[in-house]
């Protein structure tokens, strides 16, 4: 085990996978000479050369599609979006090409590609640079999607994605890149897709979440502990495939659920989780499930407005108290 930042863990995963498999290459804006807009690819150009660490023009649709074509011929591209906000320009290639290659060809062609980059809001970047797009990407059959919350998961899930024969989307968090944590040194350390992780054991209420919001949930659980409430935090880690067994196990234990996500509420990830629980664990519920999400508006710039728009520890605590029918001051 070593203590690494989330950024360093991703960098280690990229380097190890490129070392392991010569068909793996990294492509995107500023990934090479500039060492990555968020320095995730630092040092990779020096180590692997221009052939395998490819700086692109600002042409998201073009290089996303290029990656899909290269994957159809058997290469294993890792396509970096500087942020997923810019991936909106590339959605035709991700949704209409990558997600459908294997099905439309009845398995004649595979599409082993990774699309990765940060999702969600940072600080005061306003509406076009602050979007959490997990629900959009989770919507399409043919894609897989994971959202690592810790350095170890960042390494393990990215490595699983590179080794997977399907298109896998890895959504990182801009505000997570400096987060430190223990990361296994093993260059075969893989966190399988579809396996959730109980980040905090609890018995009174399940805070189910993914990505950056895992940390908001953990802070909320700490605050609740002071009030005598023992909250469980379940990090889904993958949104497709989804670890339904882990969700149901947690519901059966606590009988109360709050879902926390960075994206919008309408047709959000939480909506799907609520549907799954009501259909498969209805009798275990002691209260309606509540969701804490971004306000249903484009992200505002002003500091106070942005703060009000984002999910917060206070809102998660309040939601937990409501599903527990607790009177609070």
């Amino acid at each position: 085990m070593a203590i690494l930042t989330y950024r360093e863990a991703l960098n280690q995963a990229l380097a190890e996978e490129m070392e392991r498999d010569p068909d793996v290459f990294l492509m995107g804006e500023e990934v090479g000479l500039y060492n990555g807009a968020y320095k995730v690819s630092k040092g990779l150009l020096d180590r692997f050369g221009e052939k395998r660490v490819v700086d692109t023009p600002i042409t998201e649709l073009g290089f996303a599609g290029l990656g899909v074509g290269a994957a159809m011929l058997g290469l294993r591209p890792i396509i970096e979006f500087m942020t997923f906000n810019f991936s909106i320009l590339a959605m035709d290639q991700v949704f209409n090409s990558a997600a459908k290659v294997h099905y439309m060809t009845a398995g004649k062609f595979k599409c082993p590609i990774v699309f990765r980059g940060p999702t969600g809001a940072a600080l005061q970047l306003a509406a076009q640079h602050s979007q959490a797009l997990e629900a959009s990407y989770a919507h399409f059959p043919g894609l897989k999607l994971a959202t690592p919350a810790t350095p170890a998961d960042a390494k393990g899930l990215l490595k699983a994605a590179v080794r997977d024969d399907d298109p896998v989307v890895i959504m990182e968090g801009e505000l997570l890149y400096n987060l430190k944590g223990e990361v296994p040194d093993d260059d075969d350390y893989v966190v399988p897709l579809g396996v959730a992780d109980v980040k905090r054991e609890g018995t009174d209420v399940s805070i189910i979440t993914h990505g950056k919001m895992v940390h908001v949930a953990l802070q909320a659980a700490t605050a609740l502990e002071k009030e005598g409430v023992n909250a469980e935090v379940l990090d889904l880690r993958s949104l497709r495939p989804l670890d339904v067994d882990a969700i149901l196990a947690s519901v059966q234990k606590t009988n109360r659920v709050v879902y926390v996500e960075e994206g919008w509420p309408y047709v959000g990830i939480g909506a799907q989780i609520v549907d799954t629980i009501q259909e498969e664990a209805f009798d275990y519920l002691d209260a309606p499930i509540l969701r804490v999400t971004q306000a249903d508006v484009p992200m505002p710039y002003a500091k106070m407005l942005e703060r009000m728009a984002k999910p917060s520890v206070e809102r998660v605590v309040a939601a937990c108290n409501r599903v527990l029918y607790r009177q609070t001051a």
């Binding site: 035709d92 099905y103 398995g107 670890d243």
Partner: protein, 370 residues
Amino acid sequence: MAQTKSARKTSQSGRSSNGRDAGAKKGDALLGLDKGELHAMLYQMLLGRRFEEKSAEAYAIGKIGGFCHLYIGQEAVAVGSIMALRPEDYVITAYRDHVQAMVKGVTPNAVMAELYGRVDGCAGGKGGSMHLYGAEQNFLGGWGIVGGQVPLAVGAGFAIKYREQDSVVLCYMGEAAVNQGAFHESLNMAALWKLPVIFIVENNRFGMGTAWERASSLYDISQKASAYDMPSAVADGMDVIDMRRVTQEAIDRARADGTPTLIEARCYRFMGHSMSDPVHGVYRTKEEVEEQKRKDPITRFIELLKDNELLTDEELKKMDAEILKVCEEAMEFADNSPEPGIEDLYTHVYATEDVHGRLFFDRKNRLEQS
């Protein structure tokens, strides 16, 4: 605005600015191809024509569903260009893809079965007319979003260069695709990184019902290459020999050092945009279509071969009868192939389904899991 050096070089290579009116001259008109090669080209053109005539019949009686875009009138483009390839080269195109697939080696049986939506189709009945594929034949499809296949072609070119091979990619698109951003993003990357992709714009004059001059500020499509410092050429898309000559030049450049080329193939669509669209109407007159049919690329090629005493009526008749038999057998094969069943619905969504957790979110899958 002056053209770039490389674009100027090829545009000065003696091409008519209007390929449709350029006639093949006798003497140099056969590119040194022998009788067997020329007959093979005629065979592929006639096969494409007869196959699609049969497809139209099958569509009319409901054997083929959905969208079905016919290539009738444009056969010289696919045949002239693809037959200049080696087997290891790649082809990718849009949704008007039946003839490209067959010339690249996907069998008429597999194509017809796909049009019928049967399990023996080249995409197992999951693609249909617009999404034909051939893995062994290096035929990359078969894509339904206008311009969407163009970045994929550049990706194939990237993979070829990455592996230090000398294959090339032919990427077809209709003229309407050049107004999409994907076209421009792709040409830029292909030229910037010298990727061996030959972009063939099949200018059949109409994007559905919108004539080219109503859709583009620039009439001459080949000039768009100058924006990317890319060689370009105009080919007579109604002349299979001219198509082959122009494509061969581009292939030679691509094999030598990866230089991509933009080819504008001027041709004409004899049929409606798809089987559900009229042949003529508000956007073009019946007279215009009839006028263009007098330049039928197959008739024209037959005349050229006869003029050079390389084809007899007897040989033509025999070839046509053989092709008709192939088409009828393909229809019979398709008819006899089973329809896919419920067991096929969820297969192939993912290459790796052996994962923890749930990939599908509907009742069928839940029942299977319970």
